[in-house]
Symmetry: C2
Subunit: 187 residues, 2 copies
């Protein structure tokens, strides 16, 4: 895939070309990069043709909550803080993401606005996979496409489990509190 096919997804960042040049580095992260757990170097090299890389400086905003976005990002190097606005519109830090981890999968997959804002806290190298590129992989390399989709589904499933577990704990806690406090029927 070349520039004429893929327009820059992060125009505010320095564009470094496709990700094939970083294939060995990405493959070295396989042990702790959930997306690439099952990938060989050859597969990552192949995938690299479909991904674009960018350099973010410390303090640069990469994606913004509520905005449109049709791509996900792999942190190849650096660190990113993730903020979500609370109901008083105050940005709250909800996660810190380091190399090997991915960001923005939900919007890439479901086309909905960004759930959170990501800001680089140190100089970072980011590899971008767009929905168009994923569609092209499925057409041109169906087995590789299925492998990425399966791995994305595994990641989403595990995050859904964790989030659901935390939600159940909150609901339990609230139920416990409302059991302790005399309700309206006692007033």
């Amino acid at each position: 895939m070349n520039e004429t096919v893929e327009s820059p997804r992060l125009p505010q960042l320095e564009h470094l070309g496709d990700a094939t040049q970083h294939a060995a580095r990405i493959h070295a992260m396989v042990g702790y990069a959930p997306l690439f757990e099952q990938f060989s170097l050859a597969e990552i090299r192949l995938l690299g043709h479909f991904m674009q890389t960018y350099r973010a400086q410390a303090g640069q905003e990469i994606i913004r909550e509520g905005e449109a976005g049709d791509f996900m990002m792999l942190m190849v190097e650096g660190r990113v803080e993730v903020f979500k606005q609370d109901r008083w519109n105050t940005p709250r830090l909800i996660a810190v993401v380091e190399d090997g981890k991915t960001l923005g999968e939900m919007s890439m997959i479901d086309g909905e606005p960004r759930f959170a804002t990501c800001v680089a806290v140190e100089p970072s190298l980011i590899a971008v996979l767009s929905r168009d590129a994923l569609a092209l992989i499925i057409l041109e390399q169906p087995m590789l496409g299925a492998k990425i989709l399966m791995q994305l589904a595994v990641m989403l499933s595990q995050r859904l489990r964790q989030t659901s577990m935390r939600l159940v704990e909150f609901v339990d806690k609230q139920r416990e509190l409302s059991d302790q406090v005399p309700g309206p029927s006692f007033v």
Copy 2:
């Protein structure tokens, strides 16, 4: 796919054979069945070869929280209640699932134990897709496999958004409560 390849996943239920016989019925649910939003009748017929159908009676338990399971289920007909144990091991109703909806995707995808228990509340017709069958679809019908995986990823992504939003609301509420109540520094 025939019986020699696919062992029954729900031995306690009446097994009705593969899902091809119900293809027209499943296709009629396309408008409200998230998994099949983009599927043609031909694709559902093809997929039907890889799915097994079962009949559950009212009151029958279909899957149990904490148990192993490597398949997901499509509700073709009927209604199922979903229970999750709270921290006092009391089962709490967390959802009611009707025809067109799916159950058990997380375990099919990530291989972890069942998150919740499902009980039929009326006679139900259930189509099962196992992880082995999905792997076979990817091998034999890669485009169909990619389409199912993409749709599964979309469903998981949307549920993760909804669950994360609810969790953020709970955290906000708790923060608000702890702001109202004088903390240790006021004592």
